[in-house]
Amino acid sequence: MVDHHHGDHHHGPAKGLGRWLFTTNHKDIGTMYLWFSFCMFILGGTFAMIIRAELFQPGMQLVEPEFFNQMTTLHGLVMVFGAIMPSFVGLANWLIPMMIGAPDMALPRMNNWSFWILPPTFLLLASTLFMEGGAPQAGWTFYAPLSTTYAGPSVTYFIFCIHVLGLSSIMGSINIIATVMNMRAPGMTYMKMPLFVWTWLITAFLLVAVMPVLAGAVTMMLMDVHFGTSFFSAAGGGDPVLFQHVFWFFGHPEVYIIILPAFGVVSQIIPAFSRKPLFGYDSMVYATASIAFLSFIVWAHHMYTVGMPVAGELFFMYATMLIAVPTGVKVFNWVSTMWRGSLSFETPMLFSIGFLVLFTIGGFTGLMLSIAPSDFQYHDSYFVVAHFHYVMVAGAVFSMTAAVYYWLPKWCGRMYNETMGKTHFWISFIGFNLAFFPQHFVGLAGMPRRIPDYALQFADFNMLSSIGAFIYGASQILWLYNVIATIVAGKPVHDAKVWDGAEGLEWTVPTPAPYHTFETPPKIDPAHAHS
C-alpha cells in the first residue's frame, strides 16, 4: 500500500465527540478518568458537606435521619469507587506507558470500555436518590441484614452498580498487568521500573484477586433479597457475620488498593524535589509486596466486636500489628530520601510532605486500632472515622493532588500558578486537620459513627470539624480553577524535564507529551539505576 498521506503515521486525535467516545489512546482515556473522578470527588464532597452541615449543631436541622444515612452511604461509595480508584487508574493510564517506554496500554479497546461503563453506572447509583424509599442507606459497608431484607428497592440497583464497577476495575487491572509485563522497553527490567509502576502492578493483582469476592458478596445479597435464599439470615440457616467476613476479605485489600498507588506517587515526587535518589528502592518494592500480602490476612480486624473466638481475635491482631513494619519501612525511606537532599517546596512537594505527615498519623491510629482490647472502645466510634480519613484523604487524595500538580505541566505543556497551588495546599492542610483531628477526641469520648445527631458534650468539636470540612471542601474549588486556568492560559513550558530533579522516561518526551509517545522503544542505559 502506498502511503498518500504524510500525516498518517503521526496522526493526532480525531475531532469532536467521537475522539472521546471511541478513543483507544491511553492519554485520552487517562484524561477522561481524571476528569470523571474529579466530578465524583465533587459529588462525594457535596454529600460530605451535607453530612457536616447536619452535624454542625446538635438536633436535627436540615435533613431526616434516613436521608442522612443515604448521604453517609453514598459519600463512602462515591469517594471510594468513583473518586479515588478511577483517579489512580487515570494516572496509571497516562503514566505507565510513558514510564516504561511503551507506545500505549496493551489492551486499548478494553481500556476504552472499562472507562465508559463507569459514568452510566454512577448515574444509575445517584439516580436511586430519587427512587421511592431513597438511595441505599446501610453504609458503604452495607452490612446484612440491614442491606438485604431490611433494605428498600434501591438495593437491587446498587448491587448491579457494584457488579459493573467490579467489571471495570478488573478490566483496568488486567490491562495494567498485561502492559507492565509485556510492553516494557528493552532494558527496562522489573527492578528498574519506577515505583509508581511497581505499586500499580501490585495493586492490579490485588484488584483482580478481590473484586470477584465483592461480586460474590453482592450476588449472595441479590439471592437473599429476590430468590428466597438465606446466606445472611440466621432464621434460614445463614449467618449475618458471613457477610462481614466476605465483605472485609474484599474490603481490607481494597484500602491498600487505594493507598499503594498513592505510595507510588509520593515515591516519585519526594526524590524529585529532594534532588536525591530514593533511599531504598529495593526495600520499597519489597515493603509494598509485603503490605499487599498482609492485606489478605487481616480482614477480621474490622470485626473485633462480632464475637469471634479468642484465637481468631489474636491471629488477626498479630497480623494487623505486623503491617506497621513494612509501612514503617516506607516512611523511614521517604524521610531518609529527604535527609541531606536539596529540598524545594513546590506544590507537589508540599502535598507529598502533607501526605507523609498525615498518613503517618493515620498509620499510628491504625496501630492503636489493631490492638483488639483497646479496639473494643474505639470500634465504630469517630476515632475510626478520623483514622481512615487520615489515610484516605490525607493519604490517597493528597497524593493524587500532588500527582496532578507534578505531571500537569507535562500533560498540557503549561505551568500552573505556583502561588495559587501553595495556597490550595495550606488551606487544604489546615481545613483537613481542623475537620478530622477533633474527630479523634469525640470518638475517644464515646461518639459513635454514622449518627445524624449527638449528645451535647460532643457539640464543640463537631462544630470545629464542620468548619474544617467546609474549608477543605471550598479549597478544592481553587484547585479546579487553577487546573482549568493552566490548561486554558497557563504559561507555556517547553523543557522536556519540567522539574530539574525529576527522573524517569516520561520526562524525556517533549512537553506537552505528544499524542503518541515511544512508537519506537527508548534506549535504556543499562548502567542507569531505576528512576
Binding site: 436535627m60 449475618p240 464475637g307 513494619v325 541531606r340 537532599g341 472502645q377 458534650q457
Partner: protein
C-alpha cells in the same frame, strides 16, 4: 550526626511532655471530652492504660520521625544552598528499621494479649442479663434462677421537641431512657447480647463493653463495675433510621438497692398479670394509651398521628377501619417495613390501651374500647411469633 541527634532529642522532648500533660489532665476529669474513659471496671482501667501506653509510644516515634523530617526541611533546603548528597541503599539501615519496630510491636503484643484473654473470660458471672437490640430500642431480660425473669424495653426518653429544636435540650440529650438497666455494684455481670432484626452493637464506654448484637446469634461479654453511678452509652452499629436514637443507660447501685428494685419489678409484673384480667374505662385506656404511644409509636407516626417514617394514624384506614385488622398490625407488624411486631414488646394491657388511644385520639373518634382480654384472644388466634 551526634550534635544533630542531641538537638533532635531536645526538639522531641518538648511536645511529648506537653501532650502527656494534656492527656493527664483529660484523664483527671469526670467524663472526658477528649480521651477514652477508664470507666468503673478493672478491665476498663487496663484497656485505658494499654491505650495510653501505645498512644505515647506512637507519639514518641512520631516526634522522632517528624523531627528528622523537619530538621531536613529546615536545614537541607535548596534556598539555603544545600548540595544534595548522593547516598542511597543501605542494607544495614533497612534491616535495622525493620527489626527494631518488630521488637517494639512484640513489646506491645504482650499486654495486649493478656488483656484480651481477660476480656474473654466470662466464667464465674454472678448475674446474667440478656440484651436484645431492636430497631430502635433495647430489651433487657434478667435471668433469675430463683423467681421469675424480669424483662422490659428501654426507649429513648428525649422528646421530639428537643430533637427538632423547638425546646431547649436537656443535660442528657439523646442519652436518656425511660427505663434504665439496673445492675448491682461489685458483681460480675454476663451480658448475653443478641438482636431481633438487624445488627446492633451494645456499647457502654464506662463498663468497657462493646459487643455486636447479631440476630440469630448470642454473644457473651462480661463487666464488673466497682463503682455506683449512672453510665451512658449508645448503639454503635448502623441499624437504620434511628441508629442515633437508641441510647443505653445503666444504673449501678448497691446490692441492697438492686434487690429492692428487682422485687419491685417482679411485683410489677405480677400486677400486670392482674390488670390483664380487668376491664377498663375509655378514660383509663386513653391515659395509659397516650403514654404507651409516646414511648413506642411517636418516633415514626408523629406526636399528633400525622405520620413520618410510618403512615399517618390520624384518619388512617387502619385506625378508622376494622378493629381486628388494626390489632393484627399492632401485634404482628407489617413484614418488610419498619412497622415491627409489637405483640412481644407490649403487654396486653398496654396493647389494648394504645390501640384504643389510636382509634380515639387525633380526631379518629371511633369510640372503640379494646380490653386486655380482646388482645389476649386475638394473640391466641393470630399471633405469628
Amino acid at each position: 550526626m551526634g550534635f544533630e541527634a542531641k538537638r533532635l532529642c531536645k526538639l522531641a522532648l518538648g511536645p511529648v511532655l506537653l501532650l502527656m500533660s494534656v492527656l493527664a489532665m483529660a484523664a483527671g476529669g469526670e467524663v472526658s471530652e477528649y480521651n477514652m474513659e477508664p470507666g468503673v471496671t478493672e478491665l476498663g482501667h487496663r484497656i485505658y492504660d494499654l491505650h495510653m501506653v501505645i498512644l505515647i509510644i506512637c507519639v514518641v516515634i512520631g516526634v522522632l520521625v517528624f523531627g528528622v523530617m523537619f530538621y531536613s526541611i529546615y536545614y537541607h533546603r535548596k534556598s539555603r544552598g544545600a548540595i544534595p548528597a548522593t547516598f542511597h541503599e543501605s542494607t544495614k539501615v533497612e534491616i535495622a528499621w525493620t527489626v527494631v519496630p518488630f521488637f517494639i510491636l512484640l513489646a506491645m503484643a504482650v499486654p495486649a494479649t493478656t488483656t484480651l484473654l481477660d476480656v474473654y473470660d466470662n466464667d464465674a458471672a454472678e448475674l446474667d442479663v440478656v440484651v436484645t437490640g431492636y430497631q430502635w430500642k433495647w430489651k433487657y431480660e434478667y435471668l433469675n434462677e430463683n423467681g421469675e425473669n424480669v424483662s422490659f424495653f428501654s426507649n429513648l426518653r428525649t422528646p421530639q421537641t428537643e430533637i427538632q429544636n423547638t425546646e431547649a435540650k436537656g443535660e442528657h440529650y439523646l442519652l436518656e431512657v425511660d427505663e434504665p438497666l439496673v445492675l448491682p455494684v461489685n458483681t460480675k455481670v454476663r451480658f448475653l447480647v443478641t438482636a431481633n432484626d438487624v445488627i446492633h452493637s451494645w456499647w457502654v464506654p464506662q463498663l468497657a463493653v462493646k459487643r455486636d448484637a447479631i440476630p440469630g446469634f448470642i454473644n457473651e461479654v462480661s463487666s464488673k463495675p466497682t463503682e455506683e453511678g449512672i453510665f451512658r452509652g449508645q448503639c454503635a452499629e448502623l441499624c437504620g433510621r434511628n441508629h442515633g436514637f437508641m441510647p443505653i443507660v445503666v444504673h449501678v447501685v448497691s446490692k441492697e438497692e438492686y434487690a429492692t428494685w428487682l422485687s419491685t419489678k417482679q411485683s410489677e409484673a405480677a400486677e400486670i398479670k392482674e390488670l390483664m384480667a380487668q376491664t377498663f374505662t375509655l378514660d383509663q385506656l386513653m391515659e395509659r394509651g397516650k403514654a404507651v404511644y409516646d414511648a413506642n409509636c411517636l418516633a415514626c407516626h408523629g406526636a399528633n398521628g400525622e405520620g413520618g417514617v410510618g403512615k399517618a394514624i390520624a384518619g388512617s384506614p387502619v385506625a378508622t377501619g376494622d378493629l381486628g385488622h388494626h390489632l393484627d398490625i399492632g401485634i404482628n407488624g407489617v413484614p418488610g417495613t419498619a412497622m415491627q411486631a409489637f405483640g412481644g414488646q407490649l403487654n396486653d394491657v398496654d396493647m389494648a390501651a394504645v390501640i384504643t388511644y389510636q382509634r380515639n385520639a387525633f380526631g379518629n373518634n371511633m369510640g372503640d374500647i379494646v380490653q386486655p382480654i380482646d388482645v389476649y384472644n386475638h394473640k391466641k388466634a393470630n399471633w405469628r411469633s
